[in-house]
């Protein structure tokens, strides 16, 4: 968009008297050239498709108590009521009551719930995408037990169908679908990287072995920004003497189709990993340090496949914990104090809460827990695709300050996590606030401290 376009869409009113300057118009992005009526229709069709028993139970149950606001980092950081988690679902709720609920006919005939409009969907784009990481902390405070985060995930399906996704998020999702990776880590780039990393680090990094017992995967953030994670994965798997491989037809575990709300792209990305693992005849698929990748395959993968997966799925922290506990991985003790940031999708929503702590125990460290920790940990603010949306930066930085306070309060020397998206958000926050804490990778920490056999 050129400057001239921006000026015509959001005209400046500098010549007007100060008191007449209006609030800036709500800014939203659109994909495609669909007429508004069709956008709404597509959104409604997707919404209604998602109204199964679980979503309906949740949408019927809200008592408008507002407690979810108190658990949300975006509300707590701003005290702006529009960031109340359940309010982010208002058009979704409205569509449910009017189109699908048990009393939908009454709502429609008497027009007690109005039709959702394109203006509503446009205004809610910021609430459904920019200001929700789907971290699920609100789910833990809701007195009705409503899983608001899962509903936001469903609401994104309708927004995607309507072509109303924040453009940066849509663009990376589209690139991932087209090239196989959102950040340009195409199969060729990945293979090249593995090759030079193997040379540089004198480590064997097998790619495309015909048969392997274990298939390892990476996130595009690791491949492009933190390639040491590839080396660390290889070092550990080689150390264990496993028959393992990366596969160029299924190496990228991030799933921006899921984050942007495009079910078809989500399915395609997941099926690549599933088919690659089956093709290798592997019994184990290791997911990388990436939060949403864990949810996408560990909990949704089999449902996309349509039957139980013929292999185990472990997050790298679970894999490390298993092999630390059985004595296969031995590490040198780490003589530092340390705190651990729980990635929401792996800990709170994924259930792998103790695994990283068991790994740290193996390193001779008992982490100094943050005040709200494990399942109740505060999100870094960058999950759910939020970190890709540039216009969300100001609110993300506000939310990140909660995290900084949490970390600083521990007084720990090191800060560790097991999600590269969190790591990227922390790196960005560190730069922005000139903070003295650098986020470390649990995987790399283990690899750097492996004891030679």
């Amino acid at each position: 968009m050129s400057t001239a376009d921006i000026d015509s869409i959001h005209p400046l009113e500098l010549d007007q008297p100060r008191f007449s300057v209006k609030n800036p118009a709500v800014r939203y992005d659109k994909q495609g050239e669909l007429p508004d009526v069709q956008r709404v229709e597509l959104a409604m069709r997707a919404f209604v498709k998602d109204f199964g028993a679980v979503a309906a139970t949740y949408l019927e149950s809200c008592i408008h108590c507002g407690m979810c606001a108190d658990a949300c980092h975006f509300y707590v950081a701003t005290e702006d009521p529009k960031y109340t988690p359940i309010w982010k679902l208002e058009p979704f709720k409205q569509a449910y009551k009017r189109e699908a609920g048990p009393f939908a006919a009454i709502y429609r005939v008497l027009n007690l719930k109005k039709k959702v409009t394109v203006e509503q969907l446009e205004a809610w784009q910021e609430l459904i995408y920019d200001s929700c990481t789907m971290c699920g902390r609100c789910t833990l405070v809701c007195p009705m037990g409503i899983d608001i985060a899962s509903l936001v995930g469903l609401a994104r399906h309708g927004m995607n169908q309507a072509g109303l996704v924040p453009h940066e998020l849509w663009a990376v999702a589209e690139r991932a679908q087209r090239e196989g990776s959102p950040l340009g880590a195409t199969p060729k780039v990945f293979k090249d990287r593995c090759e030079w990393l193997a040379d540089d680090n004198q480590v064997d990094i097998p790619v495309d072995k015909v048969q392997a017992d274990v298939v390892a995967t990476m996130s595009s953030i690791e491949i492009m920004k933190y390639p040491d994670s590839i080396v660390a994965t290889a070092k550990i798997l080689n150390h264990l003497g496993l028959n393992w491989t990366f596969r160029s037809d299924g190496y990228e575990a991030t799933n921006f189709g899921m984050l942007s709300g495009n079910s078809a792209w989500q399915q395609e990305a997941s099926m690549k990993l599933i088919h690659a693992t089956i093709a290798a005849g592997a019994k184990l698929l290791i997911l990388p340090e990436c939060g949403h990748a864990y949810g996408a395959i560990r909990w949704q993968g089999a449902n996309i496949y349509g039957k139980p997966l013929p292999f185990r799925v472990l997050h790298i922290s679970e894999f490390l914990a298993e092999n630390t506990q059985n004595g296969a991985i031995k590490t040198k003790p780490l003589d530092k104090t340390l705190t651990f940031h729980d990635p929401c999708q792996i800990s709170r929503r994924g259930g792998a809460i103790e695994a990283p702590r068991e790994v740290l125990n193996g390193l001779g460290v008992v982490p100094i827990e943050m005040k709200d920790t494990r399942g109740l940990n505060w999100c870094c603010g960058g999950g759910g695709g939020v970190v890709t949306i540039h216009r969300a930066d100001p609110i993300r930085y506000k939310a990140f300050q909660i995290k900084m306070r949490q970390v600083d309060d521990t007084g720990a020397e090191l800060l560790v996590s097991s999600c590269s998206n969190c790591r990227q958000t922390f790196d960005d926050g560190q730069d922005h606030f000139h903070w003295d804490k650098t986020m470390l990778s649990l995987l790399e920490l283990v690899a750097d401290n492996l004891e030679e056999k």
Partner: protein, 217 residues
């Protein structure tokens, strides 16, 4: 047919019919919807334990949220407990239930009921003031929130007036009280008052799904 006969007869009967049919319709409408099978490998096989756990534990705030939610939850508890004491502890109400079901239990002294009613009304007023003044609640609130408040407040208020014989003839006051209860019964299936049943379904659903994954509940 005078007002009291109307209230005790057709009004209450029709209200009870709407109440039962409406609740059944709404619950069946939700529970019969499609449930997708979950093929993922469960971390915990006994997901029903999670349902029970969440139904029980979500009844009080976690330490992490206590500071921010304690006031709202306390006031909520006060009027909910108050309503239970009034509905099931007041002698005339017990006689009503006896006529309906044959079951009978000891009543509480009138003084306790009166005090409870006053506290319940005060708590309900606090709830309303908070809903009108708290930015989050004001934004979220719709007709259902305010009307549900009204149909909850009215039976307690009219009940107190009836017991006190205040403002009109006893029979008229009693008729108004019964009509206010009828209004509550008619509204019950359509609005948020259904949370008294949905709370178990909603909590149980999340509890079971999350326990299966080992996620935090």
């Amino acid at each position: 047919m005078d007002l009291l006969q109307f209230a005790r007869g057709p009004a209450l009967t029709w209200a009870a019919t709407v109440f039962v049919f409406g609740i059944t319709w709404r619950l069946v409408g939700i529970l019969l919807l499609q449930r997708s099978p979950d093929f993922s490998e469960a971390r915990n096989a006994t997901s029903w334990l999670g349902a029970i756990k969440l139904i029980v534990t979500r009844s009080w705030p976690r330490r992490e949220f206590r500071q921010r939610t304690l006031f709202a939850q306390s006031v909520g508890y006060i009027f909910h407990i108050g309503l239970v004491i009034i509905v099931f502890g007041f002698a005339p109400h017990i006689l009503f239930f006896k006529a309906l079901t044959g079951l009978v239990w000891p009543n509480l002294p009138s003084a306790v009921i009166n005090l409870t009613s006053a506290i319940t009304l005060a708590a309900l007023i606090v709830v309303l003031v908070r809903r009108l003044s708290h930015p989050v609640l004001r934004l979220l609130s719709n007709f259902d929130d305010y009307f549900s408040w009204l149909v909850t407040f009215a039976p307690v208020a009219t009940g107190m007036l009836t017991v006190a014989h205040f403002g009109a003839r006893y029979e008229t006051l009693l008729a108004i009280h019964i009509l206010s209860v009828a209004l509550l019964l008619v509204w019950f299936p359509f609005g948020k008052l259904m949370h008294s049943a949905l709370v178990f379904i909603s909590r149980g659903t999340t509890g079971a799904l999350f326990e299966r994954k080992g996620a935090s509940i």
